[in-house]
């Protein structure tokens, strides 16, 4: 989603969010990510400015206090940015790819089933279409945020093709968008 994204070119407008809209987002996020609830006061502070950054291809980024923290595309689910996830890694369920998959994930490739079922990988139960943090064998920090294209069970049984879509990864355009002006 952000492979060729450049903030300077892809942002079409920044608007202040209304408090009713903020309430809606907060409720949706807590519903989607139960792990976020205990941190809601710090991740979604009441007294901060919320900006909605509209970008091309119907991507929306929510920036709190100028910092991009959540994003979504085409009214899909909101997802945390990797920089936020690094601060609160438990807000998403984790899937672990094996070492060999790291470089592919970092170049934006989707995550193939074998990279999730091999010895170095760990596949936790997750539903199709859910949002997960991609961790890696031997690493501490998440390298990508993905969308399950199959359920974990199906990934095991099918074991070929795309298992998780790579939505946002280290070094992509969103990663390099650190502040909203």
């Amino acid at each position: 989603m952000f492979k060729k994204f450049v903030a300077k070119e892809n942002v079409s407008g920044v608007t202040q969010m209304k408090s009713s809209a903020i309430r809606g987002v907060r409720a949706k996020l807590i519903e989607d990510y139960p792990g976020l609830e205990e941190f809601q006061d710090v991740i979604l502070p009441k007294k901060e400015s919320y900006n909605l950054v509209k970008c091309h291809e119907r991507i929306e980024i929510i920036a709190i206090g100028g910092e991009p923290v959540f994003f979504r595309q085409r009214d899909g689910p909101y997802m945390p940015t990797l920089r936020l996830l690094h601060k609160y890694p438990t807000i998403l369920p984790w899937q672990q790819v094996d070492k060999g998959a790291i470089r592919f994930v970092l170049s934006g490739a989707n995550i193939m089933c074998p990279g999730l079922t091999s010895a170095g990988a760990k596949l936790a139960p997750a539903e199709e279409d859910s949002i997960v943090a991609i961790m890696a064998e031997g690493k501490t920090h998440s390298l990508s945020i993905g969308l399950m294209k199959l359920s974990s069970e199906e990934i095991h049984t099918v074991n070929k093709g795309i298992g998780i879509e790579n939505i946002h990864y280290l070094n992509d355009g969103l990663w390099h968008m650190t502040q909203i002006k």
Partner: protein, 194 residues
């Protein structure tokens, strides 16, 4: 009551930050560990453990040595880098060669030049070039100039054209309004002919 600690995919507590064990018990102490502070590399912007996958790894290592000497030492002891992939050559071959990922290049900053162009002998326009390489939005800057000098100001290609002679004022305003622009970044290129 001892809640079972969930299995988490962390195998190297040696890395630059330790992820607190994810436990179902959500007491205050647990929460106090967050937000985690993750150090990012000053060269490639990644968490250190991923530097090895980027093209400028040697530069990254030099940066660690300078800014995080403890981490650098530990990493070097373990071997070349945090974690070589060399232990399983078979796997690597199967998956294709080592595709080195290029770090996003910082746009080379060029000088900002401010000059005057004569329009029919007595009238001037001021032309500002090179702003975009300093991360300044041309559209916004043009608006700012227009508002500030109460005159026409527009973006034309990669430059901003301001109706009137504002060379000095533009230079002062740029330094004032944009913290990322220093006086030395701007040069007065004087009268330009079109």
């Amino acid at each position: 009551m001892a809640e079972p600690v969930e299995d988490i995919p962390v195998e190297e507590p040696e890395a630059e930050v330790e992820v607190p064990k994810k436990s179902k018990k959500k007491d205050k102490q647990d929460r106090a560990n967050y937000p985690l502070k993750v150090n990012y590399c000053g060269v490639c912007s990644m968490p250190f453990e991923y530097c090895e996958y980027l093209a400028d790894y040697d530069k990254c290592k030099r940066w660690w040595e300078e800014h995080f000497p403890d981490f650098f030492e530990r990493a070097m002891k373990i071997g070349d880098g945090v974690d070589g992939e060399g232990d399983d050559p078979k796997k690597r071959q199967k998956r294709g060669g080592r595709g080195v990922i290029k770090a996003k290049k910082q746009v080379e900053k060029s000088k900002i030049s401010v000059g005057r162009v004569t329009r029919n002998k007595k009238k001037f326009v001021t032309v500002v070039k090179g702003l975009e390489t300093h991360g300044v939005s041309l559209k916004e800057a043009a608006k700012l100039f227009g508002r500030h000098f109460s005159c026409g100001s527009s973006v034309s290609g990669d430059e901003i054209v301001i109706q009137g002679d504002f060379v000095e004022d533009v230079m002062v305003l740029l330094v004032e309004k944009y913290p990322e622009i220093e006086e030395d970044d701007i040069e007065d290129i004087g009268k330009q002919k079109r």
